[in-house]
């Protein structure tokens, strides 16, 4: 079937985008047991910051290729400023509360951030499409794609490799994994859990913001763009298993391919297909594909 190739390619591109956003969400849950509903707002903040910075960049007439640096920088800047602010300023006071209560806290945060974005940037849309077309396009299987999308895929792979290396090889990474497995034991062993939380949350929000920054050139940056993202990111991490890095990758791939297939062949079932797959996975593996082991309770 000649129409399979575009579905696969679109799927991989979409999966890459999903992975960058979802991996932060799953890490935050795995380490801190917080399902961050405000993750979508961080994504949006990254997109808006990118829109402003890149807009400024081109307005000043700087080298067009430098706008990619501006994209990256805006994502990182948002993450390393807003992340610690939220973690130290709000979340720190609420650890130990029920998981569901923390979800509601992040939901409240989402509401606040959505309006904050409107206050700072207004309600009109921002368009910064120059970086999208700057690198030209390439043809694969008879369809033309912007090189930018290829860059997106590479960034996703880079993020995956980097995170895997950090978690497995570096000392901080191993501490993180220890906390994911058993917070109490890790604390009893002297690990500074508080600092691990700060680092993790910042890393997670930075990844979301980078995801948003990278998306900015491809869409109109609008209020509410974070709202539908969180729903998709959630499907990805649930399918993959909350707290699992390979799970986020596999989940992103599955959701990306399913969505692509649906968009091409049965567009009205897009969300239905994604969540249908999620429900199916949960029927077979109730905690997701790469779920952890549970200790004995009684």
């Amino acid at each position: 079937m000649s129409s399979v190739a575009p579905v696969l390619i679109d799927g991989v591109i979409y999966s890459s985008w999903l992975f960058i956003i979802a991996v932060g969400l799953t890490l935050i849950y795995g380490v801190m047991r917080i399902l961050n509903l405000a993750h979508g707002s961080l994504y949006a903040l990254g997109a808006y910051a990118a829109a402003s910075l890149v807009g400024l960049w081109f307005a000043r007439g700087y080298a067009p290729l430098g706008s990619y640096a501006a994209l990256a920088v805006s994502g990182v800047l948002v993450g390393i400023t807003v992340g610690p602010l939220i973690e130290r300023g709000l979340l720190r006071w609420l650890y130990g509360k029920d998981e569901i209560v923390l979800v509601l806290v992040t939901y409240a945060l989402f509401l606040i951030l959505e309006d904050l974005i409107k206050l700072v940037w207004g309600v009109e849309s921002y368009v910064i499409s120059e970086p999208y077309g700057l690198l030209g396009s390439f043809t694969l299987a008879g369809v033309t794609y912007p090189v930018y999308n290829g860059v997106l895929v590479m960034v996703a792979v880079l993020v995956a490799v980097l995170l895997t290396w950090v978690l497995a090889r570096t000392r901080s990474g191993k501490l993180l994994v220890a906390v994911i497995h058993d917070r109490e034991t890790a604390a009893a062993l002297g690990i500074n859990v508080s600092r691990v939380y700060l680092v993790t949350f910042t890393a997670g929000t930075t990844l979301a913001a980078i995801g948003g920054a990278l998306t900015a050139p491809t869409v109109s940056v609008l209020p509410g763009m974070g709202v539908e993202v969180i729903v998709l990111a959630f499907a990805v991490v649930v399918i993959g298993g909350l707290g699992s890095l390979p799970g986020a990758a596999l989940g992103a791939l599955i959701v990306g391919l399913v969505r692509s297939a649906s968009v091409h062949w049965a567009p009205q079932f897009e969300l239905f297909a994604i969540y249908g797959v999620m429900a199916l996975v949960l029927l077979v593996r109730p905690k997701g594909l790469f779920a952890g082991i549970e200790a004995r309770k009684i």
Binding site: L94, L109, E114, F234, L283
Partner: protein
Amino acid sequence: MSPYVRRHLSLRDPTSRMLFASLAVLLAAGPWLPSWALSLSTIALGKGLVVLGLLLLMRTGLVSFGQGLYYCIGAYAAGVLAHQVKVTDGLVMLGAAALASGLIAFVLGALLAGYRAIFFAMLSLAFSMILYGLLVKSSALGSTDGFNVDARTLAGLPYSGGASYALFAVATMAAFISGWGLHGYNHSLAGRIAPAIRDNELRVEYLGSSVRAVVHLNYVLAAVMSGIGGAIVALAVGHVDPEFAFWTTSGEFVFVAILAGTGSVAAPFLGSILFEAIRSFATQYSPNTWQMVLGVAMLAVIMFLPSGLWSLFQRRSERG
């Protein structure tokens, strides 16, 4: 019915007394209320019904982030009956809403009853978003615009549409029956098993009761209440659209539930009226900061009044 339950449903019980009194007051005051107040109250009562169902689930230890699913099903059931099937009686529409919600909840509940905590919350969100997606893509049902809903009669009595006294009275009755019924239910065995499940599910199983069965039952009850609430709101505003199922709508119900707390069956309705009043005020004067205000209020309640606003009343009565 056990004598214990009967006692709590009679006028000897303070909550039942309060419910009967509220019913009388509302029905009597209704004809004197200006139409904006009637509209606000009717919508608040309808949404309060959804929150009442949510509170039953929270009593069982589950937070549903997807009651919007049944709220929307109820609304669209009423709408489709009016629009496509040309039914003109509002009460029939409410019945259809209850039936549709109940049936779908019976099926979905069989799956969801096996999940807890975050997974239950997010799976329920997922299902509501599936409906949203289906409705948005459905041109037959008006896609994102939805369609208008009106009824000509209510239980045979003439009804002019929108939030008139007739609908207000129906909404008040529905709220009363649900609140009073739930109050009795809470004192039955199943009603007492619910908080036990929340506290220690394993022990409930070891005592010989099926946790799954109780969760499933409560899920269906909550869905039926949400469906009826949705139909009431649909008739009150005269319109339905896919937003009824969007996850932020469900989020608002959760917010009101947190605000109200699980202390009393009247709390959801009071919380809902407060919420609707503040919302109409806020969206008029500062539409771009309304969500922020909501978020801050939610954080404040979570941090300083974890049992909801109702706990303020309880503390006062303990002192007095």
